[in-house]
């Protein structure tokens, strides 16, 4: 007698403990085996691209904080670099600014990877790693807070420079923290890497070949774990990354375990970069010498009528750009974060298109989970390191 079987459809999310936000997955299950997975997105859509068309270039920076809210400074950087490229002032950015931007974005990478590791491990059941990671992340948010005044929505980089210099004594604090970081990474590895259960749950799970990854457009650690040696910091440097000596970790396992190891190695490399940048950090201006674009210093505004006029003009009207189109991609913690700007000569962008890494990486999910078990869906969502703020924009 033929058994009468049918598949079961379950809604995973948008309210589910491990869809990392408001992702909805429609899973068709045959027993515990996933037959079909369809991601539904858009629950966190705030229309950041559209909003930016009605904001001056300057006013869009705080909106970018809310893209990948686990790595706000990377978003700030991507946007700011794009606008600077549009204005043609990329070469005028002072050295100190470049260094601080590198330090802060690499800290951001650590921050983002820590949250990723925490949630990924928690999803697979290793609770303790979660809290250890957040302990270190807390130090980074403290640094964020001292630098920019906010723990998550930093809004620190400005077109042409920075909102403010690093506060006194913070360099030492960053150095102490960063130097302690490798030992912590060892600790996480001690709990996970060699553990048979962890290996069983991750090795061979969510495999995606290099060709398929390139076809979909996967970037970042997920691509590098499939054996593609591609990192924008090295292959298309920005912000003076060519000055630093670092390796791009690449592995060929194509699976969740190797993506895990790539990210851990990246954390170690970030530490190297930050230490080099701290060594090279010299006093200097923190704003480019472009009076039409950057706000004048506060004491000048009060004392100098010319500065006051500039200040009023920039604040009320923003700055105008030449008409044109540019694309600027950076290596954000999750992959290539790109900003595509079309300018029509006014103070507002005609169109801004964001290429969020999570959005593209998510497209790999159905391929990775179909035919696998329900529990692997969780592992794969974790390993893709998606953030819904960025996917839905």
């Amino acid at each position: 007698m033929a058994a009468n079987t049918e598949t079961m459809t379950i809604n995973m999310g948008p309210q589910h403990p491990s869809t990392h936000g408001v992702l909805q997955l429609i899973l068709e299950l045959d027993g515990e085996i996933v037959v079909k997975a369809t991601p539904h997105i858009g629950f966190l859509h705030r229309g950041i691209e559209k909003l930016s068309e009605h904001r001056t270039y300057h006013q869009t920076i705080p909106l970018t904080d809310r893209l990948d809210y686990l790595a706000p400074m990377s978003n700030n950087l991507g946007y700011v670099l794009a606008v600077e490229k549009l204005l043609g002032i990329t070469d005028e950015i002072p050295e100190r600014v470049q260094r601080i931007r590198v330090i802060m974005t690499e800290l951001t990478r650590l921050k983002s990877h820590l949250v990723w590791l925490a949630c990924h491990a928690l999803d697979i059941g290793a609770m303790t790693v979660f809290l250890y990671c957040f302990r270190e992340r807390e130090c980074i948010t403290d640094i964020y807070e001292k630098v920019s005044g906010a723990r998550m929505t930093s809004n620190y980089f400005r077109v042409g420079g920075l909102a403010d210099d690093l506060p006194d004594g913070l360099e030492g604090e960053i150095r102490t923290f960063v130097e302690s970081m490798p030992a912590h990474v060892e600790e996480y590895e001690g709990l996970l890497t060699g553990n048979r259960i962890w290996q069983k749950r991750t090795i061979g799970v969510g495999e995606i070949s290099a060709e398929a990854a390139i076809d979909i457009g996967i970037t970042g650690p997920s691509l590098r774990a499939s054996g593609v040696d591609w990192d924008l910091r090295r292959d298309n440097p920005y912000c003076g990354y060519e000055d630093y000596d670092f390796d791009v970790p690449v592995r060929t396992g194509c699976d969740t375990f190797d993506r895990y190891r790539v990210r851990l190695d990246e954390m170690r490399q970030s530490v190297r970069i930050i230490l080099q940048a701290l060594d090279k950090l010299k006093p200097g201006p923190i704003l480019a010498d472009c009076p039409k674009i950057v706000l004048p210093p506060k004491q000048d505004v009060v004392n100098n009528i010319e500065s006051l006029i500039h200040h009023f003009k920039i604040v009320t009207e923003g700055f105008k750009t030449e008409p044109g189109e540019i694309y600027q991609g950076i290596e954000a913690p999750k992959g290539e974060l790109g900003f595509y700007l079309i300018a029509d000569g006014s103070a507002y962008p005609f169109r801004m298109k964001i290429r969020p890494p999570s959005f593209v990486n998510l497209q790999g999910l159905p391929q990775m989970v179909e035919g696998k078990l329900l529990a692997d869906v969780i592992a794969v969502i974790g390993t893709l390191d998606i953030v819904l703020g960025e996917i839905d924009r």
């Binding site: 079961m8 379950i10 589910h16 403990p17 491990s18 515990e32 491990a121 928690l122 999803d123 697979i124 059941g125 290793a126 609770m127 303790t128 979660f130 809290l131 250890y132 302990r135 709990l191 996970l192 553990n195 259960i197 962890w198 069983k200 749950r201 078990l373 329900l374 529990a375 692997d376 869906v377 969780i378």
Partner: protein
């Protein structure tokens, strides 16, 4: 004067009274341990995770379990409209009852002697000494599965259903491995009575007088069975790394997703009661029960708590296995190992 054994036929009132006292003491003690096991778990895992655990309710948070109980007791009890209400209500009870019943055959101390009416009586510190104690426990563990299946089915929710199915498969397969691993024990002890098994473990190791300071605990001659039993029972009581039925990150809360208020509390209590039962059984079968340097039941409790600490510690450290890997481990590794262990034990018994 040798003490008399209390019997129902000769001293019915005394017998009933003593029995009631034993039941109440054992029941209340178990309930208290259940309550404070939740507290201990939260505190220990908290510390391991650089947190504090509960510390606001009462001194050092000691009243937290009571506060939790009160809260759950007064919460609205929701029965989903699509659920089957009778099965839905029955399920939590069916889980809790077997978990507590198993305690009744576990000996937690030697004999207690007291004189009444000029006659010296001996009362075993055990509610009842069934001569098939081990089988009784295995049977009760088997009953617990029904509650979970029922909870999964009656909730009429897909997540609960998946949790229920997982749990059934898991408990059925691990029960086999656990059952077989303890077969080797009663091959050695030649009795199924838990009291008899403990008594057999009070002798010196392997009957050698030269090492008489080491007791003949079965953990020494059956390390493999001990390992299998501990792993298997972790799976049977759904503790990490085998907590798939309620794998929070996959199935929300597994079979108890739809439960709330006191019914949820019953599941929760059953989980911890099971943990206590399993620790108590492991203590009785492998660690010589109440034997040890201190007074009877103190030894017993120390061993039980050590086991519970171990379970909590494991939970703080390890990730969770996947469903198919769990089945693989149960059927293809633990079951053959348990069988091999029985064969080896059999041969060893024949040769000596």
């Amino acid at each position: 004067m040798t003490p008399e054994v209390l019997t129902l036929s000769e001293t019915p009132w005394l017998y009933t009274g003593v029995m009631l006292v034993k039941i109440i003491v054992a029941f209340v003690a178990t309930l208290l341990i259940v309550a404070y096991a939740t507290y201990a778990e939260r505190k220990i895992i908290g510390r391991m995770q650089t947190r504090m655990g509960p510390n606001m309710t009462g001194p050092k948070g000691l009243l937290q379990p009571i506060a939790d109980g009160l809260k759950l007791f007064f919460k609205e009890d929701i029965i989903p409209s699509q659920a089957h209400w009778f099965a839905f209500i029955l399920a939590p009870m069916m889980i809790l009852a077997p978990a507590f019943i198993s305690i009744s055959v576990i000996p937690f101390g030697g004999d207690l002697q007291f004189s009444y009416d000029g006659i010296l009586y001996a009362v075993p510190m055990q509610i009842t000494d069934l001569n098939i104690g081990v089988l009784f426990i295995v049977a009760m563990a088997g009953l617990g599965v029904y509650g979970i299946v029922l909870a999964g089915l009656a909730s009429n929710s897909k997540y609960a259903l998946l949790g229920g199915i997982r749990s059934t498969a898991q408990m059925v397969s691990y029960e086999l491995a656990v059952g077989l691993s303890i077969v080797a024990i009663f091959m050695l002890s030649e009795t199924l009575s838990l009291r008899g098994i403990v008594a057999a473990q009070q002798l010196p190791l392997w009957g050698l007088e030269s090492v008489s300071f080491i007791p003949n605990w079965y953990i020494f001659c059956q390390p493999l069975a001990f390992g299998l039993f501990v792993i298997g029972s972790m799976a049977e009581i759904n503790r990490t790394p085998f907590d798939l039925p309620e794998a929070e990150t996959e199935l929300v809360s597994g079979f108890c997703t739809e439960y709330s208020a006191m019914k949820y509390a019953l599941f929760f209590m059953a989980e911890y009661a099971n943990m206590i039962t399993v620790s108590a059984i492991a203590t009785t079968l492998f660690l010589g029960g109440w034997g040890g340097p201190f007074y009877g039941w103190i030894n017993f409790l120390i061993k039980v708590f050590a086991f519970m600490f171990f379970f909590i510690w494991i939970r703080a450290t390890f990730p969770r296995l996947r469903y198919d890997q769990l089945m693989f481990l149960g059927w293809k590794i633990m079951l053959p190992l348990a069988l091999v262990n029985i064969v080896i034990t059999g041969i060893a018994i024949l040769l000596w």
